[in-house]
Amino acid sequence: MSVNPEFRRNLWLEISPFRLISMPVVLGAVIYLAYVTDDNQMAKGVSSVSAGLFFLISMVWGTKLASESIMNEIRDHTWDGQRMSVITPWQLTWGKLFGSTVYTWYGALICICFFGLSATVCNPGNILKTMLVLMLSAVLAHAVSLLASLMSIQKGRKFNKSQTAAMLILGIVVAGPFMNIVFDSGTTFRWFSENYSEIDFLLGSVLAYAFWAIAGVYRMIRLELQMKNGPWLWFCFVLFMMLYGAGFFHGSQQVGSYAMPASSPAFFAAYCISLGAIYVMAFAERKDLLSLQAVVRLGSAGNWRRFLERAPRWILTLPITVSAGIAVLITADTANSDANRNIAFVVASLLFMSRDMGIMLFCNLGKNTRRADMLFVLYLVLLYGIFPAILSAMKVDNATLLFWPRVDLHPVLVCVAALLESLAMATLVVLRWKKRIAE
């Protein structure tokens, strides 16, 4: 059987006899130090040090290598060669994911073996599950940072050190919480009215997230290889996230600080997650005039298959969000006097979202789009943070309905304010679009 070319290339680069020897020597020395300082016991000292080393090697070092695996190809001008090869997207996905990190996996596996041998938990099944969660967390961190670098490539093919650091931090932030399993707090998770032990729930969750992250990497590599992607996997991911989030609120009475007694908090949570997905993709995807023009052209020509392949995912998520909003309203208890507040919140939040997308498009349709996303963030901070804070400080709290979907004010007022802002932004976008097209 032929070995994955990308994996083999990484083996040539990453593995050498010297490196194979040096890793266990260094790790062995550190772990032995923990062993002798813990009264020559394979106990908590060794376990903590092994877990710490595992975190450093797999989560920090490995995630850095994974995020740089594509960036280095771009920087060294070798990426076009890979794009012109006949390596399949799946081969490239796992070749990059496990190839670029192969040496850190070598060290991480040594650490996790010591962790398993020194674990203080009595149940061997739980030890194995903990080791599995740790390894899957590392895979998740690597896949997320690789995915972020691939998405960054789609937007522009230049990188700087701050981007590398951001991708490293993103990977650790996403996967880091699963690492808490080593502390084994014994918490139980309530999900869709069922109780799950911490270890089982985290294992299931990290497995699912690692799957989605790897699927995301695979799809992005397909795009890099000039293959077309339909939006179906994205839809499935958004629905999964909505379901996952809703599970925590199933049967509960409120979502965060928002008490929504007139509707199901589970539906409300799912709606908020789909709304969040729009914002995430609005940042992550290309929004330049050319790509938007191409999408508009495909739509105008009625080429719906190509339209679905090229259309920004934030646009395609809109119907899901609107449907989730409708579901929130349908499931509301109409006999409850708060039902109107639910309607106002859903309608106003959709209108505010369309205003925000308008701002994002307005920034990106300008002539200089280099800092368009930063400008968008700045506007969001002003609209959702600074301006409402100023109004609150001036004791005109009610005026914050211009910036927030306030559920405690008159529903009509809340919706009208959001509608006017949304219409104003839409007009500005249309005018700028026409101007740019005419140029």
């Binding site: 032929s2 680069l13 190809e73 090869s85 050319l290 002539k367």
Partner: protein, 309 residues
């Protein structure tokens, strides 16, 4: 054969390729020339299926590369102007990786590596790391990687930039050898004298448009003649303009250059007609038109016509 129809490619605020159409015949070496920013690199990247144009069609041996870019990558070898190598791999490993990534079975790797290093004269560098090679050797290794799967079409973007004259000459020899082996080459370069050594056709791109695509003088069925008069005479223009076998005519009152039949009898008849009309001919000679002249003439004609050919 490469067949490009109505290709349009846009960068933000700029149309890089504007309704480009041409056909490259099999077994040719086409020089892709044009000023900086003409769209040469963009055109090559579109042909290599690395960029997706706004519209248009590119057929390689009848396969639509936009419909199935991956399938056409088997047919194409591409060397970018800013190519990269895996600096820490040896030449052998670089070529083995290129062979693996192009789907060549393991048992044929040694054979194709041997063929590549023989073609590119790298046999004595096989165990050296790519990072330790000289500029010329790096260039040759990059070309070796591009041809490891013996593609039908080889696209090269500024392959000789930074090379010394000797390395350029050996590159020209290599390109001719590859063409003789059945490859079709499209080579972009600023160095026209270098292209002249091996090119059979010239494709001139300016401001994203094709302004000339023709075989070079040495590859045409006719020859290139130059006539000089001792003093201006109107008959020169009158006689040459109406003859069917005169092409690429560039004429003033006292001088003309044009493509004409290689047949001496035909040339004699033309000379006699001009003398009979009283043209004071002081020189009637066959001229070897080089690529530089052909290019400058094309650009000049295009400027005079103010339009697209």
């Amino acid at each position: 054969m490469i067949n490009v129809k109505n290709l349009i490619f846009d960068y933000p605020g700029t149309r890089a390729l504007d309704d480009v159409s041409f056909t490259i015949r099999e077994g040719s070496i086409t020089a892709l020339v044009g000023p900086n920013g003409a769209g040469k690199t963009t055109l090559l990247r579109c042909l290599a299926a690395l960029e997706e144009p706004v519209s248009g069609c590119i057929l390689m041996n009848g396969t639509d590369i936009l419909a199935d870019p991956r399938a056409t990558h088997r047919l194409i070898g591409y060397l970018s102007d800013f190519f990269g190598l895996y600096e820490d791999l040896t030449v052998r490993q670089c070529l083995r990786y290129a062979a693996m990534s192009h789907g060549i079975p393991d048992d044929r790797h040694e054979q194709v590596i041997a063929w590549c290093v023989e073609q590119l004269e790298l046999a004595d560098r096989l165990e050296m790391k790519a990072g330790s090679l000289s500029r010329g050797q790096r260039q040759r290794l990059a070309i070796a990687q591009a041809i490891v799967h013996e593609p039908k079409f080889l696209l090269l973007d500024e392959p000789a930039s930074g090379l010394d004259p000797e390395a350029r000459h050996s590159l020209a020899v290599l390109f001719r050898r590859l063409r003789d082996n059945g490859m079709t080459l499209l080579v972009s370069s600023h160095i026209l004298s270098e292209l002249e050594e091996y090119s059979t056709d010239m494709l001139v791109l300016r401001s994203g448009r094709i302004i000339e695509h023709a075989p070079l003088a040495g590859n045409r069925p006719g020859t290139f003649l130059e006539i000089k008069l001792a003093s201006p005479h109107g008959s020169l223009r009158d006689v040459l303009a109406v003859r069917d076998n005169v092409a690429d005519l560039c004429v003033s009152d006292d001088q003309a250059t044009f493509s004409f039949s290689i047949d001496p009898a035909e040339q004699y008849r033309l000379l006699k007609e001009l003398l009979d009309r009283g043209a004071p001919i002081c020189s009637f000679s066959e001229q070897r038109q080089n690529l530089q002249e052909a290019y400058l003439k094309t650009v000049k004609n295009e400027g005079m016509q103010g339009g697209v050919k």
